[in-house]
């Protein structure tokens, strides 16, 4: 983090959107009193970090200090950007190595603080989360920040950004949902037909090993052919490129974790449990719904989590076949070597995946049957 702040350039000072810029070190670009402020906060932080016993108040205080440093750095950058763009309309000021290093360190420390909070202290956890994102929220009240390159990119494409955000959610959401609808019954089916299960898993494993770009491309030809043969398919917008092949490929990818975990979940149940259920006069449907699914719920939900998170990432690639989503900007940005444009969509994609993962973890905890504590076993 310190390396990020002082040894590496914080900002890239570019003459325009695409040209490479000059490195801008924190010491060079910031006014003296701001540098002193950041430095003294850092020293304070380091002193506290080396104290042996952390209690919750001290921990919160340290988060506060870090949060303040983060905020200060963003506003310094904003001021620099404002000054530069007033001087030259085309000038761009972008975050670079130093800034990202700092953010990485920032997130690691905050997560560490979050993870060491005792399970039940929800108020403290909430405060840490608020402190972590507070600097980002405060950005909107600072005029200069809008002049930083990545936000300029956002402003200029705001509508498209929101649209592709929605697209991204729609594609990964519907693909995951379909994967669940197909995957769970398939998992149950493969448990009941052990011989066929080997083939099902063989097939899904092969799909999983195909690189995603190849699979998207692979589907174009058969889908285009299908669309050309059937007026109905054509009329509902089914074609070689776009939504249909993207979602199909994503579903295929998403199946394996769900099918595998459903199968593993049901297989892991002690056979005597199922035998006694049967011996007590439960129908096979009742055994499935009352015994097998609830008992295997944690494993099953974990499969859905893996599938969903993976799907959000893969959706970015789906833009290649014209399905839309954040991938659209990423590949556009790569094509134009506009790093800020790539970051503008890569970061939300990552955040979305992390967010989905966290939500799923929470749901797993909620749906895990009581009396079966996997952690303590």
């Amino acid at each position: 983090m310190i390396v990020g702040l002082f040894m590496a350039p914080l900002l890239s000072l570019k003459p325009n959107r695409l040209m490479p810029g000059d490195p801008g070190y924190l010491i060079d670009i910031a006014p003296l009193n701001d540098i002193l402020l950041v430095l003294s906060l850092l020293v304070l932080f380091l002193i506290f970090a080396n104290l042996l016993s952390w209690n919750k108040h001290l921990k919160l205080f340290m988060c506060l200090i870090l949060s303040a440093i983060f905020y200060k750095i963003i506003t310094i950058s904003g001021d620099v950007a404002l000054v530069r763009s007033e001087a030259d309309f085309l000038a761009r000021t972008a975050f670079t190595t130093g800034f990202w290093l700092f953010v990485a360190g920032y997130i690691v420390v905050m997560m560490q603080a979050f993870a060491t909070v005792i399970e039940k202290k929800y108020d403290i956890k909430l405060l840490i989360i608020l402190l972590t994102i507070a600097p980002v929220g405060l950005l909107f009240f600072n005029g200069g920040v809008g002049e930083i390159s990545i936000f300029k990119e956002l402003m200029s494409k705001q509508d498209r950004f929101l649209l592709e955000f929605k697209n991204h959610l729609l594609i990964s959401g519907s693909a995951s949902f379909s994967a669940i609808l197909i995957g769970i019954p398939l998992g149950i089916y493969s448990f009941r037909h052990q011989r066929l299960s080997e083939r099902i898993f063989g097939l899904l494993n092969i799909v999983q090993t195909i690189p995603s770009i190849a699979l998207f491309g692979f589907l174009i030809a058969p889908f285009a052919w299908l669309a050309s043969k059937s007026d109905f398919l054509d009329s509902v917008g089914f074609s070689g490129i776009g939504f249909a092949p993207a979602i199909t490929a994503l579903i295929l990818y998403g199946l394996l974790p769900i099918v595998r975990n459903t199968y593993a979940g049901i297989s892991s149940i002690d056979p005597s449990v199922v035998e006694s259920a049967k011996g007590m006069g439960m129908t096979s449907g009742q055994i499935l719904i009352k015994i097998q699914l609830p008992v295997s719920m944690p494993l099953l939900m974990n499969g859905i989590r893996v599938s969903f998170v993976q799907c959000i990432g893969n959706t970015a690639v789906a833009a290649l076949v014209g399905a839309g989503g954040f991938g659209l900007f990423i590949f556009q940005g790569l094509g134009q070597s506009a790093v800020d444009m790539v970051l503008l969509c890569a970061i939300p994609t990552i955040l979305l995946a992390v967010f989905a993962d966290t939500i799923m973890q929470f749901i797993i905890k909620l749906t895990s049957p009581k009396g079966m504590d996997y952690d303590t076993d």
Binding site: D270, S272, V273, V274, E275, S276, A277, K278, G279, M280, G281, M282, T283, Q286, K290, I291, P294, V295, P369, K370, G371, M372, D373
Partner: protein
């Protein structure tokens, strides 16, 4: 109650059960016993249609079970298996309530039933009803298993080596519980085990199987006294005389014995020693507390001044205990006779090793 007629079960070429017929009367506990692979578990599973017979038929209450929907049939038959198979995501109460819920009983009725059953199997409802299977010991889990099987008050109970996976102490506790429960409920029970002692303890009727056939069936005493062939003799063990004693109660061999109270004058007491060796001494509640030896030098005073008082429970047996237990106590304490007491611990008489040997 249960009639098995010419039952045969083949797995491909292998005949697991060969043409067996068996009648189990209402309220009878029938134990099927035999070495592994003798077909006893298969026979049991035919009864709730977890196995389909190759030939032959089974009647419960006069009705051919192949005409009953297996799901309906099973809800009317309690089923206990060796590995218990409690549902891990349900509490003890929820486990027990399974069949009543399948039968759509009224909620209050289920609640009362669960509480009654927990008490019946010796688990305090307040403490255990909310526990999950993972929180129960093996013995407690199987008690819940038995309660679950009894939940909808079935007439027939099938128990497939229910205590086989338990340690010896827990096993004998559960066996005693089952005896008590059975004396209250009088269910018709088919119980499968490979433990001959368990069979002798529990059974009204023992059915000994080997290679899919019934070798001998009858009461435990019959089996021990008149084994039909070498296989049965070997299976019941070389200690079958002792095993038979485990079926006999102490009261059978109990004979009256003279006794004196602690406060008797010693000279009167000495006169009462009719066998010339000793006399039992009781306290004011007629509870035996020691004995008086015949050989004393000019005794004066009361019995209590001369009486030998040891840890006296080593020398007493209850009339309800088995003769085998009495013998065990004699050997352990190194004596030839024990005092026999009744249910209130009052002296009833004595049992001696000579009588056991001469009369049995």
């Amino acid at each position: 109650m249960i009639q098995i007629k010419n039952l045969t079960k083949n797995y491909n070429d292998y005949a697991a059960v060969k043409d067996i017929s068996l009648d189990i009367k209402k309220g009878e506990l029938c134990v099927m016993i035999g070495p592994s692979g003798c077909g006893k578990s298969t026979t049991l599973k035919v009864l709730n249609r977890l196995e389909t017979p190759t030939e032959g038929s089974v009647f419960i209450n006069g009705e051919d079970i192949s005409n009953i929907d297996p799901v309906i049939l099973r809800r009317g038959i309690g089923y206990v298996i060796q590995n218990v198979g409690l549902f891990p995501h349900m509490t003890a109460s929820e486990n027990i309530a399974t069949v009543p819920q399948l039968l759509k009983w009224d909620k209050n009725k289920i609640g009362e039933r669960v509480e009654y059953l927990l008490n019946l199997v010796g688990l305090e409802p307040f403490e255990y009803s909310k526990k999950y299977p993972a929180e129960l010991s093996g013995g407690e889990a199987q008690r819940v298993g038995v309660a679950r099987a009894l939940a909808a008050d079935p007439e027939v109970l099938l128990m497939d080596e229910p205590f086989g996976a338990l340690d010896p102490i827990t096993r004998s506790e559960l066996q005693r519980s089952l005896v008590k429960i059975q004396s209250e409920l009088k269910k018709t029970i088919l119980f499968v085990t490979h433990d001959i002692d368990e069979a002798i303890l529990l059974a009204d009727m023992v059915v000994l199987m080997k290679d899919g056939e019934i070798v001998q069936s009858g009461s435990p005493t019959q089996m021990l006294e008149f084994p039909v062939n070498k296989f049965v003799r070997d299976f019941v063990g070389t200690d079958r005389a002792l095993k038979r004693l485990s079926l006999t109660k102490v009261e059978t061999f109990c004979k009256p014995a003279p006794y004196v109270s602690l406060n008797t004058d010693i000279s009167n007491a000495v006169e009462m020693i009719d066998n010339g060796i000793y006399i039992w001494v009781v306290d004011e509640n007629e509870k035996p507390c020691g004995w008086l030896d015949a050989y004393m030098d000019e005794p004066t005073g009361f019995v209590k001044d001369y009486c030998t008082i040891d840890s006296f429970e080593n020398f007493t047996v209850s009339k309800k205990q088995s003769v085998k237990e009495a013998l065990n106590k004699m050997i352990k304490s190194g004596v030839n006779q024990l005092v026999v007491v009744d249910g209130d611990e009052r002296l009833l008489g004595e049992i001696s090793i000579d009588d056991i040997i001469q009369k049995s």
